[in-house]
Amino acid sequence: MNTTFSRWGWLALLALGCIAPFVLYPTFLMKVLCFALFASAFNLLLGYAGLLSFGHAAFFGGAAYVCAALSKNYGLTPELAILAGGAFAAVLGLGFGALSIRRSGIYMTMITLALAQLVFFLAVQLPFTGGEDGLQGLPRGKLFGLIDLTDNIAMYFFVFAVFCLGFWLIHRSIHSPFGQVLKAIRENEPRAISLGYDVARYKLLAFVLSAAITGVAGGMKALVFQLASLTDVHWHMSGQVVLMTLLGGLGTIFGPAVGAITIVSLENELADKVGPWVTVIMGVIFVVCVLAFRRGIVGELLALRGRRPGTPQQTAEKTP
């Protein structure tokens, strides 16, 4: 999306975010925000750098475990625990990135998936992760040692603030010279190389940034639900974030968030009614998106607006 999205638009969204917890169930909203941040961070890598990682569950779940262990066993305050989760994910992302960008395209994707599976097995076997049970009953703690987060509304505003910060960081990165170089690499890698850009370095930086923000989202999710479990590191989670991003719109600013809202609501609605069929429905959405709906919800809307006479012509962001 280009810069025509005005200041009023942002303010309206901000106001909506402040009213929402008094209208809707705060825990549901917090889940949405965590996944929206997760998907937006993922989109930074896939939508803008054109790198498909199938291993983001490792950053999300790994950070959840770190955040959980630190706040449970060492009584770290929530903001520090989440930061530690983000830092852990960044380091992990540095490792994943350095290994996987040695190969390109589809191989890169397979490498990230395999590395994430390695992290999954470690989470099953390491002593501090609690095996099948995960880490349960985490204290949400006191923000900066002052504000008690056991209250859902307080927790919501903390999550909302972190989400805004993360989202702003992603937005800034995309519209910075760094983001432009990423797009150049996505569109034409040999040309970016011939222009003198150190492509590997840019890819790696995008990987670390994406992993770090994913880690923050994962740590936050652990505190919200007071739980870090194997579900967070399982490859299903990696698939889910791909689906959110794809459904919302690859390479659009709001797409991943819209995708996250859709998928989380769908899951909430369906989980009681259809149980195991949720996986099947996710699979069907995947197939439909790939075959007939590649621009995603936001991408389609943008294309629609671009076609309407009277509005300045804008090119919808190309999918990688």
Binding site: R102, I106, M110, Q117, V242, V278, G283
Partner: protein, 294 residues
Amino acid sequence: MELLGIPAKALFGQLLLGLINGSFYAVLSLGLAVIFGLLNIINFSHGALYMVGAFGALLGLNYLGMNYWVALVLVPLAVGLLGILIERTMLKHLYKLDHLYGLLLTFGLALIAEGVFRYYFGVSGESYPAPEALQGGVDLGFMYLPLYRGWVVLASLVVCGATWYLIERTSLGATLRAATERPELVQALGINVPLMVTLTYGGGVALAAFAGVLAAPVLQVNPVMGSNLIIVVFAVVVIGGMGSIAGSIVTGLGLGVVEGLTKVVYPEASAVVIFVIMIVVLLFRPAGLFGKQA
């Protein structure tokens, strides 16, 4: 008798189990490589179709009284037809797009298959009896060889060898390899490349189902057997590179054996050893053992 302080029987037993897993890695990575060569798609549903193969054998036995040998022929054929259907209705629309869409579509298909079987059969799984002719085993002196396990390794080797021969040594294989390199040129010579692509996908998928039927009596038949396997097979493919058919077979078998040995020496690491090897290979030979340097 002991080797390296480990009872020889345990050692050879694990080695055999490793060879069996290696056979599955080899057959599956072979199918992935053949499909990738011609379709430029990484078939994420490969593991799911392997699982469907195993369930095909189980359901055939329970509901139709189909015996093992019939299943070994019919189930791969049926799954191959399913593959042809998938290719004709869905995959063929994706060839002009980025590779990643093929991966995402087949990932969606894998989720559907896994979800459906999970709904009807739960996650615990059922066991499938080995065929009568292959029950029991022989004592080879240094180890006890259950007949069925020997058969799995033998059958996989034969199928791998036959596929290798078909692709590398026959004129059909030569056309196939040519179509992999230059599809337009081969098409211009009057060969029906789209048909070849369809049959290749069907064939690759049938291989996965064949492995599934072979696996049914050795492993528990359950809905997640495929997804757990396919991720390891991806690592195998990264290690071996998909450039060479023989390379895929050798890498698959070799890594299975390494995994089996790890189970004897340091069981905790057996689940991750292949991923660790992948990391080491990426560090020192990024193109893979048999891959061409890009």
